[in-house]
């Protein structure tokens, strides 16, 4: 009822047309039969959204974390500048001399003359200079808003420069202009297409152990998350071929099709690659969410079940038992402070769901959650995909047709084997979405506005609010601690077992912080004369 009151109060404030639209994006949840949510539609002008753009989704999120590609932003200086080291994609080259361009920002720095006369020649020259200075294996070009408008063709430039430079260099462009689509999401899709067209499947050599070969898709190594998962896999004897794209290299992408299982972590940003790789190479995919110790254990058990090898299954159980000793101790310590508290999560397109696992482990309930740019399938589950209508704003995002790669297609499991695994509780190509996990009557809100955020906090005073840098200090001025779940407030990792321990400690710290009791000066109380 409280929550219904919230909705009425908020919608009342909006102009009629706005209220009508927002009405469909704010729902009372029912986990049994999730109501249909409005998602992935255009942002309401002036509402103060959390959202970013397509360029951010493509360059900033998906391609940014790969250390040996030179990413050139084709545009005025801002886009390159703001995506320079601001997402915490950590990377660790194997040697002191391996390529690592992550600390660099490359831009064509377009000027007004480039807008008037076109920027293709400057882009070509920039590529020449990047090559002369660094001799990279690959150069990627990212289009920004004006590029599409003035008609610069980055794909043509890429082809031209690949020929001009010659040799093995790989040069490719992305049409990820900021105005495409309605959010970062379009950029993910464009990046996925580019990965598939230009990198995946170009290196057939099977390296390392031939057993238990997996890829982790949609893990960007924020605060070292991928490092922790690499550690866990290695400990279990699971052979991680490629991560898309935390701590990644070109060669790992090119070789990814030699894996036998794809695991999708961030469904929103990378489900396209998972689908394409299944179609082209016959690699099945499963959804995993190794955020929270129990969920990490669950992921490992799924891998064991998939490969069906007793030796692996035993090893996995041994690792889980070993890791859980420290996890349990940390959890028990934190639980004393966190049990019964409440949280709200409004993060990107994935973490607003995954982190509910961690809060559950801390005995905390989630009152409200939502994504900036999730689609209906991220909320309601992939079962609704056939009913999703692509609207005019997203229609121009390139859809590529993928067919079987005749030379490399190899179904990793027979139909019967897959059916048997499914009968045993494994789910392929499936994701049930955020809503089935959330309590009945909790609030699900898509593309939360600043106003809605203020109202949520005012009415419910959650103990922890999770969002990003733009929200952090507003919420804290209101006396509620905000945990950044994009940057982790410069901590982490939060994935895997060690990540869970870090998260327990950080949330306990927030829950116990003394300073929130000091917001009023002693002389502001009524008893002071």
């Amino acid at each position: 009822d409280d929550l219904k009151k919230f909705k009425d109060e908020v919608l009342h404030k909006y102009p009629k047309k706005v209220a009508k639209k927002r009405d469909k994006a704010i729902l009372l949840n029912d986990p049994e039969t999730p109501p249909q949510i409005q998602a992935n539609v255009r942002t309401i002008p002036g509402i103060i959204t959390q959202r970013g753009c397509t360029y951010a989704g493509c360059k900033g999120v998906v391609l940014g974390p790969t250390r040996d590609i030179i990413n050139i932003t084709h545009g005025p200086i801002g886009c390159g500048f703001y995506s320079w080291l601001t997402r915490r994609n950590q990377t660790k080259p194997e040697t002191e001399t391996d390529e690592n361009f992550m600390m660099y920002c490359f831009s064509t720095d377009m000027q007004d003359s480039n807008i008037v006369f076109g920027g293709e020649e400057k882009l070509k020259q920039a590529i020449r200079e990047a090559y002369e200075l660094f001799h990279p294996k690959a150069i990627a070009i990212f289009s920004t808003c004006p590029v599409g408008l003035i008609g610069d063709d980055v794909h043509r430039v890429a082809r031209h420069m690949k020929e001009e430079i010659g040799g093995d260099i790989n040069i490719f462009g992305f049409s990820c202009e900021g105005y495409r689509g309605v959010s970062q999401s379009a950029g993910h899709h464009i990046a996925n297409n580019g990965l598939f067209k230009n990198l995946i499947g170009r290196d057939d050599e099977k390296r390392g152990d031939l057993k238990y070969r997996v890829n982790l898709l949609g893990e960007y190594n924020i605060g070292g998350d991928a490092f922790e998962l690499e550690r866990v896999f290695e400990k279990c004897g699971i052979n991680l071929i490629a991560t898309f794209s935390g701590n990644s290299t070109i060669q790992k992408f090119e070789n990814a099709h030699t894996a036998d299982l794809n695991m999708v972590m961030c469904h929103r940003s990378i489900n396209y690659v998972a689908e394409m790789m299944e179609t082209a190479f016959g690699i099945p995919w499963i959804k995993v969410q190794p955020i929270g110790a129990d969920s990490t254990a669950k992921m490992l058990r799924k891998i064991g079940q998939y490969f069906g090898d007793q030796e692996l299954i035993d090893k996995i159980e041994e690792v889980i038992a070993d890791e859980m000793v420290a996890v349990t101790a940390a959890r028990e310590k934190a639980l004393k402070k966190t049990n019964g508290k409440t949280a709200m999560l409004f993060v990107g397109g994935s973490r607003a769901h995954h982190y509910q696992n961690l809060f559950e482990e801390l005995g905390m309930s989630t009152l409200s959650a939502g994504y900036e740019f999730g689609h209906r399938d991220d909320y309601e589950g992939r079962v609704v995909i056939p009913t999703i209508q692509i609207d005019a704003d997203s229609r121009n995002i390139e859809e590529i047709t993928v067919t079987k790669d005749e030379a490399r297609y190899n179904p990793r499991k027979t139909e019967e084997e897959l059916k048997a695994l499914e009968a045993d509780g494994m789910e392929f190509n499936g994701y049930e979405g955020l809503m089935p996990q959330m309590a009945k009557g909790s609030l699900v809100i898509d593309d939360l506005s600043h106003y809605e955020m203020e109202k949520l906090i005012e009415l419910y005073k959650p103990d922890v609010f999770c969002a990003g840098i733009k929200e952090k200090f507003c919420v804290q001025k209101m006396g509620v601690p905000l945990k950044q779940l994009h940057s982790y407030d410069y901590g982490g990792p939060y994935a895997g077992f060690k990540g869970a321990i870090n998260f327990y400690e950080d949330i306990e710290m927030i829950a116990c912080s003394t300073i929130w009791k000091e917001m009023k000066a002693p002389w502001e109380s009524e008893t002071y004369v």
Binding site: K13, Y14, P15, K17, V18, R42, I44, P45, G46, I47, I48, T49, R51, G52, C53, A56, I72, P76, I77, G78, F81, Y82, W84, T86, T97, E99, N100, M103, Y104, C105, F106, S107, D109, M110, Q111, D112, I115, Q125, A126, E129, A130, L133, C145, G148, G178, Y179, R180, V182, D393, N396, H450, G468, I469, K470, F473, C474, Q476, K477, M478, G479
Partner: protein, 460 residues
């Protein structure tokens, strides 16, 4: 090595900018707009810019930074963003109720040629702007100039939309604040108060980007130049533009519009620039310089004299914005330091001329560069060719400082990895003292950690 691919060997770059010493216009406009009381900045473009700019300012100030956006879609990018802006204006006033919306543009709306004058008058005609409320605007194409230009354009728009001359001149001096920290603006107001000068400062981000935590969030904090004050700037008797790159346009506009004479001076960073500011204010406000300020000055001189050996002949590399770099270089020269490499991504002749003039006698070997490709990569290459004793600049400098093992002082925008930007001023004599302490701390910490054990000293 973090920047392992940077080598001493330079090539003649004509197109590629690497590790820029600048960013784009709208973030400057957004920052300046926050210095008007009750104002909500609005970014007329696709929403990515607005998110990036809010994030950049937030990471620097560790404070809420509010702004709205027109959220262009592909359709509006082709057919124009008029409908987006008009509906944004309606939604903003209904939901967020600012006194003023300050619209700036991005490369998107500039490239398609949206006419803000026309769109805003349409919003007014359609009754989307409530009585007593205002929508102001400026054009901030990202492919012209830098964030500094955007700041200047926004400040200029305040004059355009507010400053009004009445027949009655007042004995007031306008202080147009260039790109400084809120703490710097507070310090400048303190100095003016100490001098008993009557001033109006605009923009003014103090009490906006340094608000207390009370359990209550106020979208429009108590700070910011009020509209009444902004209107009254037309009746002032003189204007001092503090930082020519960021304020000269506004000064010229105010002179043309309201016949208020002006001069621009450098931001009062260091001894001489502060002297000049105080003399300018004393002259134009017709007030004497109080003994208290003379004493502050004397304490700064005392500190420099006491610590001269820490500064003398030390080679320094600097990057940042011209209005900061010019007085800073002058200050370093006062300390007998040697600013040898100086880059600013912001183009403009004034910087080159000022550097030539400042450096020609004391540091003739200095290299400096401004505008396109005057970037941190270039500066780092110079450092590789011949090293420096200190690096001064924004947080992006830390990668160079670590690779080259150089003592590093964070100054400029953005400083994202240390708190306190909005607490301690760098302007005025007090600010210069703060800066000196930072410089010495960086040197002495470095020495304490790297010198041979037998050289560790208790007293310095």
């Amino acid at each position: 090595m973090l920047l392992r691919h940077t080598t001493a060997k330079e090539i003649d770059r004509k197109a590629l900018t690497i590790n820029p010493a600048k960013t784009c216009q709208p973030v400057g406009a957004m920052y300046a707009a926050l210095g008007l009381h009750g104002c909500l900045p609005h970014s007329h473009g696709s929403q990515g810019c607005c998110s990036y700019h809010r994030s950049a300012l937030t990471r620097h100030f560790k404070e809420p930074v509010m702004a709205s956006t027109s959220s262009f879609s592909e359709g509006s990018s082709v057919f124009g963003g008029s409908a987006n802006l008009v509906s944004a204006i309606e939604t903003i006033f209904s939901v967020y109720d600012p006194e003023v919306i300050a619209v700036h543009t991005t490369c998107l709306s500039e490239t398609i040629g949206d006419d803000l004058t026309q769109i805003v008058s349409k919003a007014n005609e359609d009754g989307k702007v409530p009585a007593g409320k205002k929508v102001i605007f400026c054009n901030t194409p990202s492919y012209v100039g830098t964030h500094v230009t955007g700041y200047a354009n926004q400040v200029s728009s305040f004059v355009k939309f507010f400053s009004t001359a009445t027949p009655k001149k007042r004995n007031v001096v306008n202080l147009v604040a260039g790109w400084m920290e809120p703490s710097d603006m507070r310090e400048i107001k303190r100095i003016a108060k100490e001098m008993e000068a009557r001033t109006i400062m605009f923009p003014d981000m103090s009490d906006v980007l340094d608000t207390p935590l009370t359990g209550h969030y106020d979208m429009y904090p108590k700070g910011g130049t009020t509209q009444a004050d902004m209107i009254a700037t037309g009746d002032s008797k003189f204007t001092i533009g503090i930082g020519p790159y960021t304020t000269e346009d506004a000064c010229i506009k105010l002179e043309n519009k309201c016949k208020v004479k002006f001069e621009t001076i450098e931001i009062p960073i260091g001894l001489k620039a502060t002297d000049k500011f105080i003399m300018s204010l004393s002259r134009h406000a017709n007030v004497p310089v109080p003994d208290s300020l003379t004493a502050e000055r004397g304490r700064l001189v005392d500190m420099i004299a006491d610590n001269n050996k820490n500064f003398y002949d030390k080679r320094v590399a600097l990057f940042g914005d011209p209005d900061t770099l010019i007085p800073l270089v002058e200050f370093l020269l006062t300390l007998d330091m040697k600013p040898v490499y100086i880059v600013t991504g912001t183009p403009g002749k004034h910087f080159d001329e000022a550097m030539t003039e400042l450096l020609k006698e004391k540091v003739p070997e200095a290299k400096f560069k401004s505008g396109e490709r005057a970037d941190m990569f270039q500066m780092h290459q110079w450092i590789k060719q011949e090293g420096v004793d200190m690096l001064i600049g924004n947080s992006y400098g830390k990668y160079i400082a670590r690779d080259e093992n150089i003592p590093f002082v964070r100054l400029g925008f953005p400083v994202t990895d240390r708190p306190g930007n909005n607490f301690f001023p760098y302007v005025g004599y007090t600010g210069a003292t703060n800066l000196l302490i930072k410089i010495m701390d960086a040197f002495l910490e470095h020495k304490d950690r790297t010198c041979p054990e037998e050289k560790v000293e208790l007293v310095m």
